[in-house]
Subunit: 74 residues, 2 copies
C-alpha cells in the first residue's frame, strides 16, 4: 500500500495510544468500525478527508497537525 | 454533503485556477478522472488522503498548507 497510508496509520496509532484509547474507543468516538481503525493503523486503507477529520476530532488534534506530522516524513 | 468537502473543493478550485490549469489538466497531472475533479470541486466527494496528496503535488502545494487553509474555515 502507499507510503503515505502507512505513515498516517503510524501517526493515528501513536496519538491513539498517547490519549489512552483502545481501537474500539477510537472507533466509537469517530463513528467508524473497529476493524477499519485496525486497517488504517496498518496502512491498508486510505481514509477520506471527512473520515480523517472525525478521527482527528476524536483524538483531540487538528487535521493540519496530523498532516504536517505525516508529510514531513514523506 | 459534508461542510469540509465543500471547503476542500473550493480550495482545490482556487489553487487550480491560480496555477492556470483546466480541470482536465489537473486530472491528468493527478492521475484521476476529470469528472472526479469536477465532483471534488463541488464538494460532492471526499477524496482519500492518497488522492489528495496526488492533487496537492499536481497543484504544487503541500497537503499541510491545503488542510490548514480548509480547517481554519471549518
Amino acid at each position: 500500500m502507499e507510503h503515505i497510508n502507512r505513515l498516517l496509520g503510524n501517526a493515528i496509532a501513536k496519538h491513539r495510544k498517547n490519549i489512552g484509547f483502545s481501537q474500539e474507543e477510537l472507533a466509537e468516538k469517530a463513528a467508524i468500525h473497529r476493524t477499519y481503525v485496525s486497517q488504517l493503523e496498518r496502512g491498508l486503507k486510505s481514509p477520506t478527508v471527512f473520515t480523517l477529520l472525525q478521527i482527528a476530532h476524536a483524538l483531540n488534534i487538528t487535521l493540519t497537525a496530523l498532516m504536517e506530522e505525516v508529510e514531513k516524513k514523506l
